[in-house]
Subunit: 293 residues, 2 copies
């Protein structure tokens, strides 16, 4: 059960704690009936939420595309802090007590209209295990090239909507293949993104150290974690590259990670059953870049 | 507010009426947080649900793709009949007292697991008006060709999932353009389907009478209403055609309709602001085919 919930709606514009054990959502909420809403998932350490401005910016961009109102940054942050202040113990990893924080905006019921809420949960042990041990990944064709959607606002390109059925199905399919997660590829086998993460790889050739991610303009959701990693890597003297990446590039890399706000940088151990080099030192470096953001 | 709700879950395996005014759904229901579920919308006339077997077949097919359990046809039908028996008055059109019926299966909360529910609402006056007066439609590129998804089960091709954010955004976009609804087109301008309907057109050339719909294998959701219309039309001696259809084909047709279970056959009055021939006699014929199904 979700541990802590704060609701922002017409009755509670400043956000109020509600009992997570009591059903809260009407059966005709359009977030439920049509996946019609947007969200962000954030990480908190020792009660402090991370990368809030980047997440609020993307939430605002998603909401604008979906024509949904978004609570301003101050109200959002206060609601997050209220939920965190009342949350139970965080998950205990090497980096402190960690919670995952989710901000959701739904179109609501036809009568009630849009509303928002914040949920806070301890980061589960499975996430810490993935950070430590890495994951096995399968490449799954995305079918169409999402870049083709980029010019059409009604296709909500780059919006993080509640309509995640395909992302969830891809992860289930990966598990039926004995893997932990899925990475989408385009028809030409170009690597796009993970089902719920961005892909980042490292190339180290003597003094030349480079981080590469698939080109962000090609229909890939812009990753706040990938962006934070890249900013810190550049400050550390790394070069930055933006795709295209093919499976052979990942196999030839010195490290490949699935990166996302709560998982941070999870090393990819196997790609379609082929082993990838796993370098704990590089993983610590990449994790440090985002954990410090 | 939704008028009547019947829930089928672990506590109520045979379906039980619940109060629609009371929030029913937990905040961590995956139907809400990830659009992870499937649904069908049906029409009932004078308390009798129509085309139930076709809808239950498609619900079963959607649920299988999404790896969700589906209540068997008998349990589903009993739940629908229970809801209809307790529903308020239907919407009053020319065809009787009409209700829309929705069957939804959600993946539920991580602890509780999948559950289902049936909602029943009177068909609104706006639907009757669309049937009488027709709609103005804009063509919106679908971006990618959904046919490319057809071979990949993890993309849920042909499944009617709760992840409808793009369909809803397309209808909103159509309204900002002064139209009533949207029809998706492929990159080559081939007509695909409406945001929440199938497209059917009629060609009458002397004795040759033909109904045409975009080819069903090309990434278009198979329409139960289109299928019912085609079955009845063939019995009446019409020829049947399955795309490809281009905008010019629609402009040259003798009638174009958006067809779906509750709206039946809504004539398209204008396509991208160009007038289409509206023939009330043909609309009555097409409506009669599906209303009798």
């Amino acid at each position: 059960m979700t541990s802590t919930v704060v609701v922002l709606d017409a009755e509670r514009p400043e956000g109020a704690l509600v009992d997570p054990a009591v059903p809260l959502v009407h059966i005709d909420d359009q977030g439920l009936t049509r996946g019609d809403g947007v969200f962000e998932t954030l990480r908190a350490v020792d009660g402090q939420v991370r990368k809030f401005p980047a997440h609020h910016r993307r939430l605002t961009s998603s909401a604008r595309l979906a024509q949904l109102p978004v609570p301003d940054a101050e109200r959002c942050l206060r609601a997050v802090e209220l939920a965190l202040a009342h949350a139970g113990p965080g998950g205990r990893g090497e980096l402190g007590a960690e919670h995952s924080v989710r901000i959701t905006i739904s179109r609501g019921t036809p009568e009630g209209g849009p509303w928002s809420w914040v949920t806070v949960n301890p980061v589960p042990e499975s996430t810490f295990r993935q950070r430590r041990e890495g994951v096995d990944v399968v490449l799954l064709p995305r079918g169409h090239d999402p870049a083709l959607d980029a010019g059409y606002p009604w296709l909500l390109p780059g919006a993080k909507t509640l309509s995640y059925a395909v992302n969830m199905a891809a992860q289930r399919h990966a598990r039926t293949l004995g893997a932990d997660d899925a990475v989408f590829t385009a028809e030409d086998r170009r690597v796009l993104e993970g089902a719920t993460s961005s892909v980042v790889c490292a190339r180290v050739r003597g003094d030349r150290r480079e981080l590469v991610t698939p080109e962000p303009s090609r229909g890939v959701l812009p990753g706040t974690t990938q962006a934070a990693i890249f900013t810190a890597a550049r400050a550390d003297g790394w070069e930055l590259g933006y795709g295209p990446l093919y499976p052979a590039d990942l196999l030839a890399a010195d490290g490949v990670w699935l990166v996302s706000s709560v998982r941070l940088a999870v090393p990819v151990r196997r790609l379609d059953a082929q082993p990838l080099p796993v370098n704990p030192q590089l993983t610590r470096l990449v994790t440090g870049w985002v954990a410090g953001a």
